[in-house]
């Protein structure tokens, strides 16, 4: 029963908390840059404002354009239910396979890219083409690096991976884990469209990746996309925290108290990661577009080396 409760808890945490995480990150950046900032709740206020607006779809767009926000948000919610954030003991445990999770995240990205293409505008196409370039390197890296982690554990099930890491924390110091951690951190930044890959705060339409794809969205659709993007960022950070700092995640048999502690721990971990990311961004600049494949190829290489190391360094 705690499994179901845990799942509900972590979906709620992600759904409600992710805009807050974005708010925290913006606030950190603002303070570090010497600005007052808009406050933690601003992303939620923005979402509320957008929800009240009229839904507008550009002329000539089809069902792909209308379905994409739903797909994006839907996949994010499913992943939120499956990934071991609060508990490793999910009733959806069979789905919590790393391949399934990666595929779900990719599905959301692809839906958005298709929607960008569906608008038929130059910017939608440009954003989609750039997003797919990034995606083509990000997804294999995620797969390969989690695969590397799965070799010592002997399973690709995320829950088991986390449980195994929690049981033997010394293995976290191995080159396999470190290489995979670096690779996953880089692609998480790329996947969530942060500096140095993409600038979430830009108004320069020619440099955008994520923002260019969603340039034609307005009102509730835009709200859904913004919310889903925040959830994806939260999930990626949560996954990172779970894989490389698994302490505190409730395993089978943890009671209600265990779940509560696990929830607090995960909130702390994700917040710390988010703050670190935001603080890092302040001192970072955006890479030239042609340098991004280099960065991603580098992360892919690390993932591959992690796999190689997991074979020979045992």
């Amino acid at each position: 029963m705690t499994g179901v409760a845990g799942v509900v808890l972590q979906v709620l945490l992600v759904a409600v908390g992710s805009p807050l995480l974005v708010g925290v990150m913006r606030q950190v950046r603002a303070r570090l840059e010497g600005r007052a900032g808009a406050g933690l709740w601003q992303p939620w206020r923005d979402l509320r404002k957008l929800m009240r607006k009229q839904a507008i779809t550009p002329a000539g767009t089809g069902w792909v354009f209308r379905a994409a926000p739903m797909v994006l948000a839907g996949t994010a919610l499913v992943v939120a239910a499956v990934v071991p954030l609060v508990t490793t003991e999910s009733p959806l445990d069979g789905v919590a396979d790393l391949f399934a999770v990666t595929a779900l995240l990719a599905l959301g990205s692809v839906a958005l890219a298709l929607a960008g293409l569906d608008t038929g505008t130059a910017f939608g196409g440009m954003g989609a083409s750039r997003e797919v370039t990034v995606l083509a390197l990000v997804e294999p890296t995620i797969l390969v690096s989690v695969f590397a982690l799965s070799i010592p554990a002997g399973s690709t099930n995320l829950g088991e991976l986390v449980a195994a890491a929690e049981a033997n924390w010394l293995s976290l110091l191995s080159p396999v884990t470190l290489l995979a951690a670096v690779a996953l951190a880089i692609v998480s930044i790329a996947e969530s469209g942060r500096i140095p890959v993409d600038n979430p705060a830009t108004h320069l339409e020619l440099t955008m990746i994520h923002e260019a794809m969603i340039l034609e969205y307005a009102g509730p659709d835009l709200a859904l996309i913004e919310w889903a993007s925040a959830m994806r960022l939260t999930l990626l950070l949560g996954l990172l925290a779970g894989l490389f700092a698994p302490w505190g995640i409730a395993t089978a048999g943890a009671g209600a108290l265990g779940l509560l502690v696990a929830a607090i721990v995960v909130v702390v971990k994700v917040t710390v990661l988010g703050v670190a990311l935001a603080a890092g961004e302040v001192f970072m600049a955006k890479l030239r577009l042609f340098r991004i494949p280099e960065l991603l190829a580098g992360s892919f290489l690390m993932a591959l080396l992690a796999v190689a190391a997991s074979y020979f360094l045992v």
Binding site: S174, P293, F300, L301, F312, L313
Partner: protein, 219 residues
């Protein structure tokens, strides 16, 4: 030293050794490349140090300190001086672009794994299992040497190979006989000095260290 910790530490050092080697392919900034090389020298010294601690071998530990001083201290210092004198601090146009180089490096890692099978099988131990790491760095160093155009990048490629050979020597046999060891170190040092002198001479006669300029001799 308990065995588990020995293995973990050895692999951690080997991981650092590998990572610094591969990162050289990634960076264009030659100063960063030199820093990475110095870090790799430290990682190599750490590998030797861990081996020495495991075997309780004082002589090996001293050799490790010597290797560290040479490869993390003297050589990077020399290269940094050459760089400061030249004023060109970026690898502008490698023959193979960086993304492709990184993918090639992944393939090289697989190749290294394949060719080091006989070594691991002859004497399976934590140390010999790490030989593929050294061989990967060897191949990466060779790749850097072949595809980079700045004189200094080529020197770094050569030194990566040399680091890798040293690492292999220590991982497989805890080092070759001392006489040979000394001779090898001396030779490497001299080779670097020769290259250092030549780098300056290239700059004097070609006005830069972009080796694309070296095109006078051909058939």
């Amino acid at each position: 030293m308990p065995d588990l910790t020995y293995t973990e530490l050895l692999y951690l050092a080997c991981g650092a050794f590998l990572l610094t080697g591969v990162m050289v392919l990634w960076r264009r900034d030659l100063r960063a490349v030199i820093r990475l090389f110095a870090l790799q020298g430290l990682a190599l010294a750490a590998v030797i140090g861990v081996l020495a601690a495991h075997q309780g071998d004082l002589e090996l530990a001293l050799v490790g300190i010597g290797v560290g001083a040479l490869r993390a201290g003297l050589l990077p210092y020399l290269m940094a001086r050459a760089l400061a004198a030249g004023g060109e601090d970026r690898e502008t146009r490698p023959l193979v672009n960086v993304s492709a180089s990184l993918v090639v490096a992944a393939a090289l890692a697989m190749l290294a794994y394949a060719i080091s099978r006989p070594l691991t099988e002859l004497a399976p131990s934590p140390a010999t299992r790490a030989v593929p790491v050294a061989l990967t760095v060897l191949l990466v160093g060779f790749f850097v040497l072949v595809t980079r155009r700045r004189a200094l990048s080529q020197v770094v490629g050569f030194l990566l190979m040399d680091n890798a050979i040293t690492a292999t020597a220590f991982l497989t046999t805890s080092g070759v006989p001392l006489v040979v060891e000394l001779g090898v170190s001396l030779d490497v040092l001299l080779a670097i000095l020769v290259l250092y002198v030549l780098t300056n001479r290239i700059r004097a006669s070609f006005g830069g260290t972009d080796l694309d300029e070296l095109r006078e001799l051909h058939d």
